[in-house]
Amino acid sequence: MGGEQVESRRAPEGALEFEELVTDVAIIGSGGAGLMCAIHCQDAAPSLGVTVISKGAVGRSGCTRMVQGGYNAVLDAEDSLEMHLEDTLAGGKYLNNQDLAWTLVNDAPKVIRELETRVGCFFDRTSDGHIKQKAFAGQSFDRTVHRGDLTGIEIMSRLRDQMFRIGAKELEDVRALDLVPAVDGSIAGVTGLDVRTGRFVLIRARIVVMATGGAATMYRIAAPAREKTGDGVAMCLRAGLQARDMEMMQFHPTGILAGESLMTGAVLEEGLRGAGAKMFNAEGERYMERYDPEKLERSTRDVVSRASYTEIMQGRGTSSGGVLIDISHLGVEAVEGRFPGMVARTRQIGSDLARGPVEVSPTAHFHMGGVLIDRDCMTGIEGLLVAGEDAGGVHGANRLGGNGVAESTVFGCRAGDTAAALADTRAHVEADVHAVERSLRTALQPLLRQQGPSPFELTDALKSTMWEGCGVVRDRLGLEKTQSRVEDLRERLSEVSVPATREFNRGWQEALDLANQIDVARAVVASALTREETRGAHARSDFPEQRNDSDLHYVVLGQASDGTQNLQLRPVEFSRVDPLAPAREGA
């Protein structure tokens, strides 16, 4: 920029014009939570107008689609809801909202049945014809329902098929910009941008459901789909809602390293470690012997990720900054037979899982943190519901594999039921015109600047900054540095410039994604500074121990309209399982 005067393109006449759409229930997001919500809402109240607003292709964007492993649900008489709850809480290091965790495990069997008998999914069977459940890390019973290693495709394809039955309205390629309040502070609707035409819309609704998915793409190495830029949490924070556990970002230990390719960060599935894969540093040492001599590679995601990260940071990583996973000792045929998808994935990048070691790194995967909700997905704003990864509290400090798609579908159903019940009790209220104008004016800015940094360059800077300073292992100095870098990026975002085309302009969309990522990144860093201990996914090298659970608090963060953050600590209620109580027999 060199201090030059930035010349702005004049906003052409009518640039802020918008089309107004009126619906009863507006659902933002079309993954597992969004479509489950639409189906439940429409089936419960067929006369309601239901509209699904999706930044990408309906049912084919977001991360439910990418689920490999499966879905945790208690189906076997030998298993129990109490055991699933205890696994979920132990996995979450007891930071969970126990009421939400109980809701998850309690509803999951019902929702699995619904997926099979109503939605039309077909999950793998055992030889006696009953649903097969496999073992997953951190669970006391084999309870993971799956369809091969492409479970998400089966669930999302069948949910998408259901959309043809219920006939809900779809706004595909429409990005939600901001929640719009009425003058009394309740929800009036949401502003949006039609990505195809570049035109603005105002969607007025009695009920708005936020179900966009998390923000893990803000890291240099990350697993999720491209849409996952924290839009829902960012919109909710800007609307004045509070979020909890924002420091809790899960890193999966085995993300592919494929240089500059987008394939980098894609997950090699957890089952490899379960099946006996060994992990080595660049010196050929099986380093897990030093971190968890008992469970070795089969230790939980947080422990293995932290060990790998430490090896890489201390200079024992490979030249491209990774470690090695090796399962070739099982033999080519066995590996090809058991992990065909993973073998194909590695061959595509020029290595071969069946024949030798593959370079991997921890990869940002899932955000446990999110908006405060109750078990019916209600929030602090009347008429606004939140479901799925946008919500916080279900998983606490760490999510178990198989509880993610369970969360999105369970709470999607509940949001749909709540929306159907509440819609009649709320009228369409008038949107605050100033809020609408502010939202559209802000969104238009990158398009009006002739010069300025490219959003792609700033996104890269954010990803590196978060990876280095607020990643797998954190400390105060690094976090403070990261905090000031993210603030700098926020400043530079206000100078960003994109090509002037309004139709399907990826540069413009990137700038809008980045604005949301920066809001969420600020919340992650501030919360990470506040938690001075190591717990679950949040590791502090300056506070390497987990504090006593008798004084366990969760971090709640809100942000004022000028962006000022406020943080509170609230005590975790052990309403169902007390980690301090003496261990129960047989538990």
Binding site: R60, R65, M66, R345, P499
Partner: protein
Amino acid sequence: MDASDTPRLRVRIRRSDPGAPSTFEVSRFEPMTVLDVLMAVHREQDASVAFRFSCRVAMCGTCTIRVNGRSVLACQSVVDAQTTELYLEPAAGLPVVRDLVVDMTPFWDEWARVKPYLVPAAEMLEPAVVDPESPERRAIDDSLDCIQCGACFSSCGIAGLDRHFIGPAALNRAMVLISDSRDEAAEERLAIVTGADGVDRCHNIFGCTNVCPKGLDPARAIRAMRTGRSWS
């Protein structure tokens, strides 16, 4: 390595606006997929080139384009070391929204015609007991993992030519449901797929099976329904 030594790749892209730049040169890296090439064009050359993707690991099915004439998922197409030039076009047989982005409505219209959702018996409250080795599952399992990418639809000489063929993906979906013992609408669906726009319009060109990025065989599904050999 000196910048001038970095291998370059020449990329031609069919743009919607005939005046927009359409030939680009990007730096190569290893490994590199066609999707990586498009991202490089964005970063280094022109952020306004429109294309679609989501998952980048062949699960979402939204990055379907034609690379040197062939329908593929951009994320799965590795650019090998010998390649020096690529020609990228939008998927065929579908209206172009902009550049490489197409409107999938015709594909979904056909998909909807076969009643693509399960019609379960009201009394089915528990997951059905189904032998995984049964003829039913043998008919279905290899045809189940369709990601609705539309590569087959675009490559079908008939579906792409006119709008009066249900097309390979929707017919494959119909075969799966007709074979599924949990479904109660098999007869209705059979009538649709054996009707005027159904299986008899297939000319056995096998374009669908040849391009399916998931290795499915829609031509086999069509043949099975033609000869009444689908398991029902």
